[in-house]
């Protein structure tokens, strides 16, 4: 298991390095069109061939990885902040605020995730500029993905509310913000971190689903979702294996996250 963990960390580091230095590593810009070579097979010039518009697939995969890997954690951070506010405050206060917050959370959770995403995404402009579409996609993910985490955080906050630690802290004169900063936030930190890490692969997969359905990041900006749209034109696995590379990369990255999340200290 230790070897698997090390391999997962190594893979994530390599992918993150490639994405971070895409400008240096990629043979061309993600939008540059090699008009003389559309739909080209892999070669030394184009390691993963080119797409219908003659854009280098390897370059697009690197830039797409950068967008997906940079923004999924940001969306996860946003959703965890929201979850901490809703779940943490509700659990800490208890009583009717907790009941109302948890009822709202339950209502949120009763909608299948993809349905909710699709509905809210459709209310926002679909023909937005590429950068705006990136922001819209990941903000939607972040703003809608808080409910499951809020439940867990609320349970943790409730346990803290009824614990002796709080009683002792109050007896020593800690109140208000000081109590929150010194006792409450450190107590919640491991749960927040675990929920944050759990959310990242969920958001990567959600962005990929939205992208394949044509509701994610707009062209010409690449993301894993928009790169996977090419699978739609695939006629066989063996014939054009290079088109499956972005999917393979996504699966490997998400699997690496899952392996790291299975570590007991994170799971706890």
């Amino acid at each position: 298991m230790r070897t698997l963990h090390i391999a997962s960390i190594a893979l994530l580091l390599i992918v993150a390095f490639g994405a971070l230095f895409a400008d240096k590593v990629a043979p061309a810009s993600y939008a540059y069109q090699f008009r003389e070579a559309p739909n080209a097979s892999p070669s030394w010039t184009h390691p993963l061939g080119t797409d219908d518009l003659g854009r280098d697939r390897f370059s697009r995969t690197l830039y797409g990885t950068r967008i997906s890997l940079a923004l999924a954690p940001l969306a996860a951070l946003l959703s965890i902040v929201l979850a901490a506010m809703v779940g943490g405050i509700a659990g800490f206060l208890g009583g009717w605020p907790e009941r109302v917050a948890m009822a709202a959370t339950d209502l949120f959770l009763c909608l299948p995730w993809l349905f909710l995403l699709l509905m809210v995404r459709s209310l926002l402009p679909l023909n937005a500029a590429p950068l705006t579409s990136v922001l819209i996609t990941f903000l939607t993910l972040g703003l809608l993905g808080w409910a499951a985490a809020a439940r867990v955080i609320c349970t943790e906050a409730r346990e803290f509310r009824i614990s002796d630690v709080l009683l002792q802290a109050r007896a020593t004169g800690q109140h208000g913000w000081r109590l929150l900063a010194v006792q409450f936030v450190p107590k919640l930190r491991p749960v927040l971190l675990a929920q944050f890490l759990i959310s990242i692969p969920v958001f990567i997969l959600s962005e990929a689903n939205l992208g394949i359905l044509g509701m994610g990041v707009a062209e010409p900006l690449p993301s894993w979702g928009s790169l996977l749209r090419e699978l739609d034109s695939l006629s066989s696995f063996a014939g054009e294996w290079w088109k499956l590379v972005p999917l393979g990369l996504l699966v490997m990255v998400v699997t690496s996250f899952q392996v790291l999340l299975s570590r007991e200290d994170v799971a706890l």
Binding site: L107, C110, L111, P112, W113, L114, F115, L116, L118, M119, R121, S122, L123, L126, P201, L205, A208, N209, I212, L213, G214, M215, G225, L228, L231, D232, L234, S235, S236, F237, L247, L250, V251, V254, T255, Q258
Partner: protein, 287 residues
């Protein structure tokens, strides 16, 4: 028991009402709500255009809009699809059967496979088997549902199997954990030590303990299947409500989309309530 049932019924009704209110707000707040494209039709008389405007303006106040929306919904009038130009009820009605068919097939196959493999893992206690099946389940969990749908189109397998491929890993992982905990319980260890056969241990000592949790897992799978139906139906060309949801989203057909959301939420809550109530009923009869 009756109290539990009443709470569930109230939860379903409240969800529908809140869902309708949220839906109504979304439709009301959507850009272009107060204008009608018919107002641009040069063939219409000024009186007709004035009448159309008056009709739109009558819905301007949010409170009256809510009440009208709910009153119409209660009567079964769910509005008109702006993209298809047909009543929403009719559009959803003719497609829901297809979705229910592939979802029930997917849930059936996915749950059966997930539970069976979890039972085999629990009974065999072979770490190699556990790693193998766990690895396959994890792999399926790491593939986006839409990509899974495309793969199933490519290998020419039924869409229901794609839904099963989405459900099986989740069911397997939950069921495996539940079974592992149950197999470690003192009464199960005692039964095995006394020489009970594997089938007897399973049917008499393990399943009765896990039944409620298994039902809960089956309840979750309904939500998973409905969620998966959007990309799977869209990419496999199946005329169900999943495909309709995507078409409505792309066409910003809000009346269809919000009604679908309420319908889906109701089905999900109903399934979860059922999976919660059935074991409770069995337990109360046993006691």
């Amino acid at each position: 028991m009756l109290k539990r049932l009443a709470i569930r019924v109230v939860a379903i009704v409240v969800t529908i009402l809140v869902g309708l209110l949220v839906s109504a707000t979304m439709v009301r707040m959507a850009p272009g709500f107060e204008s009608d494209e018919h107002q641009l039709d040069a063939h219409l008389s000024p009186e007709t255009i004035a009448s159309l405007k008056a009709h739109r303006l009558a819905n301007r106040k949010l409170a009256s809009f809510y009440l009208t929306y709910i009153k119409h919904s209660v009567r079964g009038d769910l509005g008109y699809s702006t993209a298809l130009g047909r009543p929403v009820r009719e559009v959803i009605g003719e497609r829901i059967a297809e979705t229910l068919k592939i979802c029930s097939f997917g849930i059936g196959v996915g749950c059966t496979l997930g539970f069976l493999l979890a039972f085999v893992t629990g009974m065999s206690r072979s770490s190699a088997w556990d790693v193998l099946v766990g690895g396959i389940a994890s792999l399926f969990l790491c593939i986006p549902i839409a990509a899974l749908a495309l793969i199933f189109v490519l290998i020419r397998r039924p869409a229901g199997l794609a839904i099963a491929a989405v459900i099986f890993p989740t069911v397997y992982r939950y069921a495996r954990n539940v079974l592992a905990r149950t197999f470690a319980m003192p009464h199960v260890i005692t039964a095995m030590a006394k020489g009970c056969g594997p089938i007897r241990v399973l049917t008499w000592h393990v399943i009765p303990v896990c039944a409620a949790q298994f039902m809960a897992i089956a309840g979750i799978s309904v939500s998973l299947a409905l969620s998966a139906s959007i990309p799977i139906e869209s990419l496999c060309g199946i005329p169900g409500i999943g495909q309709l949801a995507l078409q409505s989203a792309l066409a910003r057909d809000l009346p269809v989309l919000v009604t679908l959301t309420v319908v889906i939420a109701t089905i999900t809550i109903f399934a979860n309530s059922l999976s919660d109530l059935v074991p409770a009923t069995v337990r109360s009869r046993q006691s």
